[in-house]
Amino acid sequence: MPNMSLNKVKMPEQDPNVRNKNFKEVSLGYTKEQALEEASRCLNCKQRFCVQGCPVNVPIPEFIHAITEEDFEKAYETITSENALPAICGRVCPQENQCEGKCVRGKKGESVGIGRLERFVADYMMAQNNQEIKAVTSNGKKVAIVGAGPAGLTCAGSLAKQGYEVTLFEALHEVGGVLMYGIPEFRLPKALVRKEIEKIEKMGVHIEKNVIVGKSITIDELMEEGYQAVFVGSGAGLPKFMNIPGENFNGVYSANEFLTRSNLMKAYDFPNSATPIHVGKSVAVVGGGNVAMDAARTAKRLGAENVYIVYRRGEEELPARREEVHHAKEEGIIFKLLCNPEVIHGEEGWVKELECIDMQLGEPDASGRRRPVAIEGSAHCIPVDTVVIAIGQSPNPLIRTTTPGLEVTKWGGIIVNEETMATSKEGVYAGGDTVTGAATVILAMGAGKKAAQAIDKALSK
């Protein structure tokens, strides 16, 4: 008999007033008992809407069924047959819009906690530390992957499993892309990301760090070196600024810089780590997405007393996951909604105030969201020491400017055939944020997987 409770088994979490002062993980994960209880809420229905909602088609009812049988190894094998990075997806996927959004249990009450269960299985198996990686005989065909983020890692893992000789080129000194530099430790522990990457290395993927494709070597040169296909998963790493006066004052960061300093360079541990970060007493984060929430919650943990999210639309329009908004509020982040920054004022070269104007929502715009309109005469200043701009990222131009024959959109995204992820250049595939613009980890993984299948098909001919 399934467990007919309307609510998910609650996820144990660190207390908000404790966790907003440390960088340890916020959500602590299910115990075995909690996982069994939650797994029994799955009706194992025939329609499998959840699987349709998953960008990488994880056989969800099957893995949950294995949990109810306490066969966690089988549950893990079921997940990893389709998803190479379950410990990561279980934590950062927007499940409410994907698998869980389609779950029939969600029609009346809460959906099954699929993400939490995925995380439980991945963590459980990681703790056993006996995940065997089977070595595959090489098929002698070389594939190059550009960028070791979610798209590239997934593509590399899938191809290595099939015997390809895969080399993964990463521009930074650390592998993982946005998983390392973007998403904070308290949401995605880096030790865990490293373990997932180790698995991919054990599959035989060769990793070359500090190689900036487009600068250190071009895609054409990779082809000349004997790579038969190249997958570009270079992400959307170029920060957008608002182009308002005062953006170059000291104390104004792009979210990319703020988060990279804290996450990748471990500035939160300064001076034990060598990279500094400036925070001060009051911080305004401009934007309403997941990156903005990450930046605000990081600023709080770095000791800021007042941390504001400044967003020009309303609560309903916040693009961040609801859970992130909820966590941010619990931790004391102040939301200044319908509020648009117009000028950054400074003193002696440093940020002093963020001048904003209040907004109201008008008619829906092209995106379908109601367009914010300024309310005249409502300008006011927020005193701040730091401003973090988190209004989005676009693809880095390094690849497109050095790869003749690669067609891109007006805003710089690489154009692909959505069935195969093939670009306009023969043998070159692309996926993830470099194609879509800033999106999610799981969509990038889905693209990496799709490209791997297409590459295999093309090279098996």
Partner: protein
């Protein structure tokens, strides 16, 4: 890992390293730079490429031992390894044959100037060079420059060459009737600004090379933003060489000092590293 093939002390605080870095050495051009970490967990710091050998797959970097991170690099001995040397980054300097070019290198700014002058001379340009430093020992690469150009030296204390600033010699050279198609000035920001303050009214095209604070060097963080001609540019991907007439030097100097407090702190905290190096 990138092996240090050779390490040479150029003066009390400036050192040169020849490092095995195949990807960089195969592709780099004058004007470009690398990002270096001495060890895992260290700060990523940008250093200009002073010279390169495509066959041996080595690049030379020159650094002044001023802060925590450069001390970490300096603590490495010949034969040891640097964790990261990533590049080449930035845009190659726009160097085409001209009639007469003047290069001005202040302190370690002589390092990135060197490959530019070498390339210009090899292309058939006549080059004069002014090297400057606080005193004799801070003037570097003089012999190397002399192979390619007429070298003038200015030191603050007069221990080598003329007593005074590089701009004093610049004025003399221009007033003596030298007609320069272009001046390339690389050094501390106040020096580059002083050069531009002189050349701009005379409309002598002046290129400068900026070395702001950055993390990734690939356009990702935007920490290296600089205002050029009223527009925000990223020094890492749009530069590091810019038209000196258009650079907002005041802003660049302010941004350079963003972490002064923290730097002083970490230097006090980690003085033992300097101690090891001296031992």
């Amino acid at each position: 890992m990138y092996q240090i093939i050779e390490k040479i002390k150029l003066n009390e605080t400036v050192e040169k390293m020849v490092v095995h870095a195949p990807y960089v050495a195969r592709k780099c051009e004058p004007g470009q730079f690398v990002i270096v970490c001495a060890e895992e967990g260290d700060e990523r710091i940008p250093l200009t490429i002073q010279d390169y050998d495509r066959e041996k797959e080595t690049v030379s970097i020159i650094y002044q031992v001023v802060g925590y991170s450069t001390r970490k690099i300096a603590a490495k001995a010949q034969g040891e390894f640097l964790t990261s040397v990533a590049g080449p980054l930035g845009v190659a300097a726009p160097l085409t044959k001209k009639k007469h070019v003047l290069g001005i290198g202040g302190g370690v700014g002589a390092a990135p100037l060197y490959p530019q002058i070498k390339k210009l001379v090899e292309a058939g340009t006549e080059c004069d060079v002014i090297l400057g430093g606080r005193s004799k020992e801070f003037v570097i690469l003089k012999d190397e420059f002399e192979k390619y150009s007429n070298v003038n030296v200015a030191t603050d204390d007069g221990t080598l060459g003329k007593k005074g600033f590089v701009t004093d010699i610049l004025k003399e050279l221009v007033e003596a009737g030298n007609e320069y198609d272009e001046v390339i000035a690389i050094g501390p920001l106040p020096m580059m600004r002083a050069v531009v303050n002189y050349t701009k009214p005379l409309n002598i095209k002046t290129m400068v090379s900026l070395n702001p604070i950055m993390i990734d060097g690939t356009g990702m963080c935007g920490g290296c933003r600089v205002t050029v001609g009223g527009e925000t540019k990223f020094a890492c991907v749009d530069g590091p060489d810019f038209d000196g007439f258009l650079v907002d030097f005041d802003e660049a100097m302010r941004r350079q000092g963003m972490y002064k407090k923290q730097e002083a702190h970490i230097c006090r905290m980690k003085q033992q590293i300097g101690g090891q190096e001296n031992a």
